[in-house]
Amino acid sequence: MTGHLRRVGALTLRYLLLVGRDPSRVLDVVYWPLVDVAVWAFLTLYVINAGAHVPNAIAVFVGAAILWNVFLRAAQDVSVSFLDDVWARSVVTLFASPLTVGEFGAATMAVGAVKALLTLGAMTLVAWPLYAFDLFSLGPSLVPFAANLVCFGWTLGLVALSVIVRFGGRWMIVAYSMPFLVMPLSAVFWPVAVLPPPFQQIAGALPLSHVFEGMRAVIATGVLPPAQLAVATAENVVYLALAAALVTRNFRRALERGSLPKLR
């Protein structure tokens, strides 16, 4: 067990060292999320000043922007961490060591979680003085919300990672775009009820929609709807297991095809 943790820790250290070495990683963790907060806050102010009535508009939109970025970070960093190794041509170096696929996956997930937390912290710090929005007003429900978002982020990240293992680094677009594929149906900034009925069915199958519906319920009533949370958690457990199985399968097939050393 110690050996597993040590190797996961070593790889996590490596990816976090990269944050300090690569300015684009700082942009990912801090700059773009802050731009997102600013855009949604200004849009909200405009909507309010134009006379539209959206209850708790700042909390709903800025809160959603913050939690969306938590999910986004977790999702992108799992697969982008692997892309880092593909681009650095260090895949062979890493996998010729005692590092297992499971340990590698765990490290990329740890990196995603750490960066998601950093993003959450940065956005919360900015939203509070600028827009008088305190994310912690969500209370203890913030913890299961964030955990579910990170978990679904891992799931999509692992799916993107398995695509890259199968098809190579030229499919990097998957790593960046996959979270945005589910965004329109995830009820991030609008309730599920505004979606056409067939899309509402799809939204129900996405843990994100339950988290964001739950967030809006907490903002409106102060009460966490346990059903939303339970469904999101159950879906996450199933999807994460399926994603892990997909990664394992694609790595195994890459070993059989001999494509791992040729990944570019």
Binding site: G3, R6, R7, G9, A10, L11, L13, R14, L17, L18, R21, D22, D84, D85, A88, R89, S90, V92, T93, L94, F95, A96, S97, P98, L99, T100, R252, L255, E256, R257, G258, L260, P261
Partner: protein
């Protein structure tokens, strides 16, 4: 610390852990003697058991979608022995190494490293293996020191191990440089250092000196020979430099079209192929050309 980037610190241990140029306190270890750590020191000097096989490859085959890289390769490396795996481009050398390292799965046959299957899912066998190749790189954005820290943590070795390896390979002046800023030769040296960090029992080297100038190549060979002398290290070595092969290798196995067509000491293979009783680099070159062009008939 003055003048040094924070990334040059080999661990969080502060000044003591700071990388220093080989001209200062690292000098005592810089220019050669490889000082093994305690467990290996106990082993040092002991002749390896002739019964122990560091590498045991039997009937190894690998078929890709449109090509066959290995037909049926059989060879072994005894503990403490240096085996040169030779052959022309496309003979299956790199595929063989990749199978040994657990990153390509064989289609048939078996591989064992000190009796363990590197494909058993636990990767236990690879804990005793170090691998260096100009193709196996480290992260280009991190400094050499940062990269070595990461790999030391991956193998669970101490800061002392990093310092010893850095000293032996005279890497002190490179520690603060980003890996991507190094010349090809410097990257190779850093790669060899990474492969030696955890004091492996088997070193797999894929053309380790192909990108080095003669001086650095000679120093690298000297370090490898020193490590081998003090630790009884086993090596599997690929190279196209026949002078190097003749110098470094106890035995050679020659791959041709996915099969081992000659296996023995360089002299034995030379006798077998050329029928001559003497051996030098030129003879090895001739052996290589003859086997690469004609096989063994």
């Amino acid at each position: 610390m003055a003048g040094h980037d924070a990334s040059c610190v080999l661990s969080r241990g502060g000044a003591e852990a700071e990388a220093v140029p080989t001209t200062s306190r690292r000098d005592s270890t810089a220019s050669a003697p490889w000082t093994p750590s305690a467990p290996h020191a106990r082993r040092a000097g002991l002749p390896p058991s002739p019964d122990t096989l560091a590498v045991d490859v039997r009937d190894l085959a690998k078929r890709f979608a449109h090509t066959t890289a290995l037909e049926s390769a059989t060879f072994h490396v005894r503990a403490g022995e240096v085996l040169g795996l030779l052959g022309p481009n496309g003979a299956g050398k790199t595929t063989t190494l990749h199978i040994l390292l657990g990153i390509v799965r064989p289609s048939a046959g078996s591989v064992r490293i000190f009796g363990r299957d590197p494909h058993d899912g636990t990767k236990q066998a690879l804990r005793r293996v170090g691998f260096a190749s100009p193709e196996a790189l480290m992260d280009w954005r991190l400094t050499v020191a940062e990269n070595l820290r990461v790999y030391a943590a991956l193998y669970g070795v101490s800061r002392t191990a990093i310092e010893r390896t850095v000293g032996a390979l005279e890497l002190g002046e490179l520690l603060c440089k980003r890996f991507g800023d190094l010349s090809l030769g410097q990257q190779t040296r850093a790669g060899v250092a990474r492969a030696l960090l955890h004091e492996p029992d088997l070193l797999v080297l894929d053309e380790p000196t192909s990108s080095l100038d003669p001086d650095v190549a000679e120093k690298t060979r000297r370090v490898l020979q020193e490590i081998r002398r003090t630790r009884g290290l086993s090596m599997l070595y690929t190279s196209h430099n026949m002078a190097e092969v003749e110098l470094m290798c106890d035995r050679v196995a020659f791959l041709h079209r996915g099969r081992v067509v000659a296996d023995g000491t360089p002299l034995e293979v030379s006798r077998q192929v050329l029928g001559t009783a003497s051996l030098d680099a030129a003879a090895m070159e001739e052996v290589f050309l003859k086997l690469a062009r004609e096989g063994l008939g």
